[in-house]
């Protein structure tokens, strides 16, 4: 079989997805046998970002204008483009910046802003069509393999779209929201991590971002009833989901309240 051409692109992020990808854990030989790493900066010098690519993986939020241009070029060059990791999928942590006046945020960091050219942080699909989302921070291992094998076999990838709660119950964890009164984001968060936080005795902080059509205002109401302050509720929905419609609904509701 001809190897498929793979490109891995990093924008504004911690590069954890590349790092994670570089060790596709137990599958290094298989991945190398099936893919040509045409471009992946963390692993290889002398790569070319020009393509064409059979599969492009994009990590990081888009926070500078040149990234948009390059991203569009990559999209044109790629048969399949997957957003990998919460920054690329939902804007992730970098999107917190946009919850307050951005210039203030920038001024807190740099005295001289003349060489800083940041634009409002967004997920990758704000600019280009995305063929699939490998969610999570770090991304779910299973979803990464699903993306890779789907491209290899020419089928549509299948990613979970339900709540963390389902995974949590499948694991048999006693619910931390109900039993321990912890403000768990699991009910509105997309599955994929295997309900890691509740399994470690803590509330989910939604590092996988909102699930499709999450009813975040209803959860915000529940948090309020639990005695959680308005600001704390807003923070819950803006840690990873600041750039998502689903979580903005909760924030708006709390503001209007």
């Amino acid at each position: 079989m001809n190897k498929l051409r793979l490109g891995f692109f990093k924008y504004s992020c911690c590069m954890g997805c590349s790092y994670f990808f570089a060790y596709v854990h137990k599958h290094v030989p298989e991945v190398l046998a099936s893919f040509d790493f045409v471009f992946i900066k963390l692993l290889s010098s002398k790569g070319t970002p020009e393509g064409p690519f059979d599969i492009a993986l994009v990590e990081g939020a888009i926070t500078e204008a040149w990234q948009v241009d390059e991203l569009k070029m990559i999209r044109e060059q790629s048969k399949k483009l997957f957003a990998i990791g919460s920054c690329a999928v939902i804007g992730g942590i970098p999107a917190i910046k946009a919850t307050t006046p951005e210039l203030d945020v920038e001024k807190r960091v740099y005295k001289n802003l003349s060489s800083i050219h940041s634009i409002k942080p967004h997920a990758v699909d704000a600019y280009v069509k995305v063929d699939g989302y490998i969610r999570g921070c770090p991304p779910a291992e299973r979803d990464l393999y699903e993306a890779l094998t789907s491209v290899l076999t020419g089928r549509k990838p299948d990613f979970p779209q339900y709540s963390i709660c389902i995974e949590c119950k499948l694991k048999g964890n006693i619910c931390v929201l109900i039993a321990d009164n912890m403000p768990c984001m699991g009910p509105v968060t997309n599955a994929g991590c295997g309900a890691l936080c509740p399994s470690m005795n803590r509330a989910c902080y939604s590092c996988f971002g909102p699930m499709k059509q999450a009813n975040s205002p209803a959860l915000a109401k529940k948090f309020k009833a639990m005695g959680i302050s308005r600001d704390d509720i807003i923070r819950k929905f803006t840690e990873f989901g600041a750039d998502t419609i689903e979580f903005r609904k909760a924030v708006e509701m709390v503001y209007e309240d």
């Binding site: 890779l148 299948d158 339900y162 709540s163 709660c165 119950k169 006693i174 619910c175 109401k221 529940k222």
Partner: protein, 350 residues
């Protein structure tokens, strides 16, 4: 379950200690599963000795039936993909097991699961485990906050004629042990005292006093066609938008919810595909999606499916889908309560 010769359904009083010792003596042939205390909760799990059991538990989050008979996750087939594809059918593993302390609602829930998995098409995995499992039920001694089993005839004392092996009733220092299957009759060697009319009267009194303790109830006789006639009652939309998170906790903890998904997972070398089965939930937005539409796109429709499947839709199996364990109420993050929804609709009618 299968054609059994008639056996003797005897009733005896056995000191609790002796009973538990007998249980331990079975451990060489059986896995012993029962309620165990963890923190403020009880969970059903395998124990090494009857001493770990916590028989006074109120209710567990997950039911024994959906942990040890119908498994949350089960590998069914493995496909070898190189060259001509071959299918390897995973043989049912059915270690012999005893589940002790199963409350009446959960026994009824198992009987409900039987209708799905031992119907026209029998699931070999479920069937094998069911055959190899001894179910020892325990009549309830405590009514938890959200229990309403007495309203739907599923508790607090068990009245099902068959489908389980033994029934215990707490008689302070003793158990009233009732033998309900041939398997149990053969295994049970303890003599104890034979229980007579007095004991049965005492049992009936206990049941009566238990029944008076329920805080939650539902009027099933008033249900009739009420759901079908009130499909668009505002309560659905209102509850769905205000409260329902579509998180599916209700479905996951429900001991009678049987829905599943079949999933394929391909190994990275593309040489093997594993097909497995795992619980699915009608609250998941993808659950009823087809090309060109989604039959339950609206959250209200999904919520209504759950509630009506439990309280209406009895045409399916001829019994209620709920056993009144109250789990979906307890573990719903926003406390959505199907008995309240029902009351609301009944109010509307009258």
């Amino acid at each position: 379950m299968t054609g059994e010769r008639t056996f003797q359904k005897f009733k005896r009083l056995i000191p609790k200690k002796a009973f538990l010792l007998w249980l331990d003596s079975l451990r060489k042939d059986y896995k012993l599963i029962g309620p165990v205390k963890t923190g403020n909760h009880a969970v059903f799990k395998e124990v090494d000795s009857s001493e770990e059991l916590f028989m006074e538990y109120g209710t567990t989050m997950l039911s024994p039936g959906k942990l040890f008979l119908y498994k949350p996750n089960e590998e069914l087939f493995r496909f070898a993909m190189s060259g001509k594809i071959t299918i390897d059918e995973i043989a049912p593993i059915a270690e012999k097991q005893i589940i002790i302390g199963v409350h009446p609602c959960d026994v009824n829930a198992i009987l409900y699961l039987d209708r799905t998995f031992l119907g026209t098409f029998r699931d070999p995995h479920y069937e094998a485990r069911r055959k190899n499992t001894l179910i020892i039920s325990l009549n309830c001694t405590r009514v938890s906050e959200n229990c309403f089993c007495s309203s739907v005839g599923a508790g607090p004392f068990l009245h099902a004629a068959s489908g389980y092996d033994m029934l215990l009733t707490d008689f302070e220092s003793e158990y009233l042990v009732e033998i309900k299957s041939r398997k149990a009759e053969e295994l049970f060697g303890l003599e104890g005292r034979s229980a007579g009319r007095d004991e049965m009267r005492l049992k009936a009194e206990k049941e009566k006093s238990m029944k008076s303790k329920f805080k939650k109830a539902i009027n099933v006789s008033g249900l009739d066609n009420i759901f079908a006639e009130n499909m668009d009652h505002p309560i659905w939309q209102q509850t769905a938008e205000d409260k329902c998170l579509s998180c599916a906790n209700c479905v996951m903890v429900c001991p009678t919810c049987f829905c599943y998904d079949l999933r394929d997972e391909m190994s990275m070398d593309l040489k093997t595909v594993t097909r497995y089965r795992c619980f699915d939930a009608c609250q998941d937005i993808m659950f009823a999606e087809v090309h060109g539409g989604n039959f339950r796109q609206r959250r209200a429709a999904r919520l209504r499916q759950f509630v009506t499947h439990k309280l209406d839709q009895t045409n399916q199996y001829g019994v209620f889908g709920t056993v009144g364990c109250g789990r979906c109420i307890t573990w719903c993050p926003t406390g959505i309560d199907l008995t309240e929804i029902t009351r609301e609709i009944q109010k509307f009618k009258s």
